[in-house]
Symmetry: C2
Subunit: 764 residues, 2 copies
């Protein structure tokens, strides 16, 4: 292992490279783009969740000043494509299947004109029966949404975020609203429960929640420089995914679609391409630039939020405190189109604790709601909430300290995950040990409150994420002015580029400010996986390192000739090459680049494209602690303290890792306390704006403490692990355990609203 | 040598890749760019060639509706930079030194408003004495333009096109309008002439001519996405040259200047950055996009045309027809700032023929005219006109056939050029042999005319160009849809990209249409030399080949795993990898790319950055033949037939080489027959538009026949040689010899106007 101490800039906390741009409002987002002759598009949304489209009258809208066109499904090049995912539902054909689906689109010379004209588009709907509630959808009397299964064609982009196809299918022979049933089984459940002296059994429920990024979906498309080419500027986590889907739906060559990933104001799994095909089709048809920026309400109604879940969980432990059996039946509401991630449910439910007897059934259900989508660690907070609640219950029943119980049972390197594969090297134990020494844990029974009606409690929970990884490329160049240019295919959604520059700076002995990083478009950029599933830093860092090492060698070779010294006797320091310890004759790397790229028969330009392809993942575990105060009289819950311990393997840039941890911890806590999208029985969302959709302000949150553990991974570059997902996973579970510790009540539903908690307290 | 026959697509003629875009008017040029909130700038030109600026009153211009600002030199960030070249003369300070210099600039919301306001800017000039004529400038009574020498700072971009710094300086001790005097001497001139039995001695003169690209200089600059960054869209031959000069003059970091090279409507040596610093300074100051497109008159008055020359040439040959001595004094008018290319003058004047005794003196002269600049093979047509005329004179005097004389004396591999270096492998002899067998030569004494007043004659001349070369990089990627993406730093001014795609297609076994080539900007693109001096194909092809070979290997490695075969048993054909001769199990390269870039622990994305750096040049020689008809009564010259034989080493794409030859041949003929920029005694150009500046229409030109010779070069990729420059070099010289053959008159001045020829015919 290479310790942080061995490095000059790597592993040292450093600012966000585009922080100044963002703080000063100079950073350009998609909505800021103003192109000449640009038109503005706004969608006409269905407010029916299920209805036939009898007719659409666009006359009044078209008569509005400034309106250029109003299109329905059959007007666009996408009309013959099968609709089987949110991204392929460019405009609804014949009928609508969720409230929020696009029925038509208005294009005008200003956004205001388009918005006004939307109200004048008259859609004649014939309402059809709505399947709104997930559990009601499974009853025999429920109408079947997909009588003949979901139509097949193409791929669904929304599943890109951390999906896994493990598990065994339960074959469905009768048409039902069960889209998919997967089983993850090992051992003998009956024997497991027979050997248990305590059993915890509960049904947990969680609500639909929205990713609640600040920047709504926004796309600008324009006809490109080449005939038939289209340029798409978009707020996305993955430009290649968007390119492929736009090309597929518009029947273009991939190389005729150039996707330029812009600054992203939050993605969290929801930005893999959604309105891009529509906007691209409009620009292609009108041969003018077209912009579409969803309003908050449109965005919340039509995008792909995280689905509600129901987790029926039964666990058993032996009298000496060993987990003997885990049995779970997990339902996830998929909304109208499939969004499956059963593998991750199975993997985590049977993968946090050593246990020989596990049976997890995952059921995906169709309803007339928007398609479910990925939200940071999809499925994991829900699984963790249920499992970690049961664990605390069993520990308590056995009178074992909950931390001791977790230390005893928590998985170690080589133990099985819930899909039957052994965990590679992991650091869960180190995290548990760390929290055990933390004052917040040691003082867990002390109360800071002077109000006798406010009871305090501390809860902990663990969380883990296997982490994606994918091959990637990266270009490193040295310019004649000494600038190191990194060209990458990754989208910088979480400060990842502020870590990548450190790798090049470290290798090349330059100040990180001398490293310019360019976020590539699909035409000129290197390939990288989409920035999601926690995979981008671990996947791309290796390619940057590979390219930087090659460039380092190239620089030293040129310098060796110039300094008449052996390459091995040289070093790169302060932006120059020198004989080790002899800075007097140093040659600036810009000068070396100039020599290399201008001298006849010389080395050639200083440049290399690095590649990387990790052989296995670099899972990350976290232990989170929450102290809450619960007001007995009102049920109001106040989080007072939050400590997150997370094993990141190697902290490439600790400042940004702390940022990731704070953000995810806050989201997880918010999931536990505030957030819920409520659909009524007609399938319409009742809280499609940020007034009615409750999430916390900064003042609603406790102080967050981020404790970084560095147990180097075997496979990640520099020993680094995945970072982005774990912070959100354990917060709600820790909250639930803290509430139990405070007031003795086991909460079974997220979010925990004061009214419900108060009611629970009355019955306990 | 690899013969064309060994290849599938390489060496086979193929269409211009962007021909369709250009023919249909879809291709975007800089002037086509429309950016939101874009302002339009127009310059205020001085019509004095030398004057003090007493004051500038901008009130009336500023009062015009639509006018945003009027700036003079001191208003811009460039104000403290030294003015010593055309590109550094952003706006004139205190005084003007050539007619056409920018004095002020108007920025308005429309181009029309800016243009109208230009007329209202009142500049109070105090005229100063003008040095206009080159030879008068050298007289003792002439005012001295640069009493203290030309101010020093920075570099001059205009010298990038084929400059050479060979030769010995004659030290100037007295201030004069001789900017530089260089001497290229070998052997003993006196002995050489003593051994000669015939001597030819003439003074030749050529006019100022303009590169006459169809697209005038055009630049759009806008504030970039990052704070302090500027984007420059420009019609240029070299984006890196423009970047460096803009950064230097605006005191920016190079990495803060992103230059996007657009389609170029002709460059011919004149487009290395000229109005870019001005437009960039305006965009930076106003923080808005600014466009400037020069009008034809502005362009012809203010850019850097090819200078007039005077060549005093004396040559001698022995009675057995060997060239014994070459003595030349060559004057080039540099205009106001230095534009030297003495090396090429010396190299060619003493480098076409084996000769032991050579003395060439090159004098660069300052005048109050626009700075001279590069025009396709700068200096070479002038040298060749003089030398090849003298050669014909000597051959005639010795009664030796002019082709035989050239075969006897023309340089071969290893013979010395005029700067004393041996020519690497060249193919002049092969070209001469080829023309000797051509019917146009064999039938040279036959006349096709029935008009007894029209006399016909055939002339030939040789030409050569050493050719630049420079290291370069290039990226090759394979996308999942099977598209091969080439990313290059070269600007496609002469169809070069239509050759580069063939190299990748050949290596990767794909249809050339599957190869997409991306012209890089300075931020994301690979490095390549500017497209000038005939260097770009030979310099970049090697990098493309290097990258393609690496990618080929990567593809075969992935395929070997999939096909369970040894890599060496595989081949790439029809866009797929297969066991040799077994297409049934072929795997498309897009599929291989998908496997490589998605499989965990796989190969990583299919991509490589190739580099190349030739060790020596790949000179190109040509022999050109013209048949003319001269009307005895009017002096009207009609070119009837034109045959160009050119050694290109290896014709990567013969179709485009023919295009290059036709174009250059036409330009050379036009130089001989039509083109001249005439400055009056006050230094003002009298023909600053395409009505008064005469160049030929298609109907004025004879049929061109291009005969390609392929004597492989030792150093060029695939044996390829430089191509772009030679076609223009020998045409005017061949024309002069044809006229002599037709009417017995030796023309000493270019262009040859009918009136002058008629007068000459009367005195001969």
């Amino acid at each position: 292992m290479t310790l942080n101490a061995d490095y000059t800039v790597l592993g040292k906390g450093r600012k966000l490279i585009d922080g100044l741009e963002k703080v000063t409002g100079h950073a350009k987002f998609t909505a800021d783009l103003e192109l000449a002759q640009m038109l503005h598009a706004r969608p006409v949304l269905s407010f029916y969740a299920h209805a036939k489209i009898i007719g659409i009258n666009t006359d009044a809208a078209l008569a509005m000043p400034g309106v250029v066109a109003v299109f329905t499904a059959n007007d666009l090049v996408t009309k013959d494509r099968v609709i089987n995912s949110r991204s392929s539902s460019v405009l609804a054909k014949d009928k609508v299947v969720f409230a929020g689906e696009f029925v038509a689109v208005v294009v005008a010379t200003s956004d205001a004109a388009a918005q006004d004209a939307v109200a004048l588009v008259e859609v004649d709907f014939d309402p059809l029966p709505v399947v709104s509630d997930m559990m009601a959808a499974l009853k025999p009397e429920s109408p079947i949404i997909w009588q003949h299964g979901v139509p097949q064609e193409g791929a669904d982009l929304t599943t890109l975020h951390g999906n896994s196809s493990d598990g065994e299918d339960t074959v469905q022979t009768i048409a039902s609203n069960m889209l998919e049933v997967k089983n993850f089984v090992r051992g003998d459940l009956t024997a497991g429960f027979a050997a248990s002296s305590v059993i915890a059994q509960h049904t947990y429920e969680t609500a639909w929640i929205h990713q609640a990024y600040l920047e709504p979906h926004a796309v600008v498309a324009e006809p490109g420089a080449r005939l038939g080419q289209i340029n798409v500027y978009t707020s996305t986590q993955g430009q290649y995914a968007v390119r492929n889907e736009v090309a597929r739906l518009l029947s273009l060559k991939q190389s005729d679609v150039k996707v330029i990933p812009m600054n992203v104001g939050g993605g969290f799994g929801a930005k893999y391409g959604l309105i891009d095909p529509l906007v691209a089709a409009l620009a292609l048809k009108l041969q003018k630039p077209v912009k579409m920026v969803l309003s908050r309400t449109e965005d919340m109604m039509t995008t792909t939020p995280a689905s509600a879940s129901r987790l029926e969980l039964k666990t058993g432990a032996s009298s000496d405190g060993r987990v003997m059996a885990i049995e779970a039946k997990v339902y996830f509401d998929n909304g109208i189109y499939p969004f499956g991630f059963p593998g991750i449910i199975g993997m985590l439910m049977g993968g946090y604790y050593k246990c020989d007897n596990v049976a997890v059934e995952v059921v995906q259900v169709s309803t007339h709601k928007p398609q479910a989508g990925a939200y940071r660690a999809p499925g994991a907070p829900q699984v963790t909430f249920a499992l970690e609640s049961n664990i605390d219950e069993m520990a308590a029943a056995l009178n074992i300290d909950p931390l001791e119980f977790r230390l005893k049972n928590g998985v170690k390197t080589g133990d099985l995950s819930g899909v039957g594969r052994a965990w590679t090297k992991i650091g869960l134990r180190a995290c548990l040990e760390k929290i055990g020494l933390h004052p917040a844990w040691l003082n867990r029974h002390q109360s800071s409150s002077s109000d006798p009606d406010c009871l305090e409690g501390v809860g902990i929970a663990i969380g883990g994420w296997p982490g994606g990884f994918s091959p990637a490329g990266a270009v490193c160049r040295v310019d004649t002015d000494g600038t190191v240019r990194l060209h990458v295919g990754s989208v910088d959604i979480s400060g990842v580029h502020s870590s990548l520059v450190l790798i090049a700076a470290e290798q090349l002995g330059v100040n990180p400010d001398a490293v310019q990083i360019v976020q590539g478009d699909t035409e000129s950029g290197p390939y990288a996986p989409a920035s999601g599933g926690s995979q981008v830093t671990v996947s791309v860092s290796g390619a940057v390192q590979d390219a930087s090492v090659q460039v380092r060698n190239q620089l030293l070779e040129v310098a060796a000739l110039e300094l008449e010294a052996h390459k091995d006797d040289l070093e790169l320091e302060n932006g120059a090459a020198q004989v080790k310890g002899v800075p007097e004759k140093a040659i600036a790397i810009g000068q070396l680049a100039r020599l290399a790229q201008t001298k006849a028969g010389g080395a050639g330009p200083i440049v290399a494209e690095g590649r990387s392809a990790m052989k296995s993942g670099a899972p990350g575990f976290t232990v989170q602690l929450v102290r809450v105060s619960v007001n007995k009289l009102t049920g109001v819950i106040t989080p007072l303290e939050f400590v997150a311990v997370q094993d990141v393997g190697f902290a490439l840039n600790p400042t940004l890792i702390e940022g990731q941890m704070h953000g995810g911890n806050a989201q997880g806590l918010s999931m536990g306390l505030y957030e819920a999208m409520r659909y009524d029985s007609s399938g319409v969302l009742n809280s499609a704006n940020f007034l009615e959709y409750h999430f916390p302000r900064a003042t609603d949150l406790p102080p967050f403490e981020a404790v970084i553990v560095q147990e180097p991974s075997d496979s990640g570059p520099f020993g680094a692990r995945i970072v982005g997902e774990p912070p959100i996973i354990a917060s709600a579970a820790a909250l639930a355990n803290a509430i139990k510790a405070a007031v003795g009540v086991r909460v079974l539903e997220l979010p925990v609203r004061p009214e419900q908690l108060w009611k629970l307290m009355q019955t306990t």
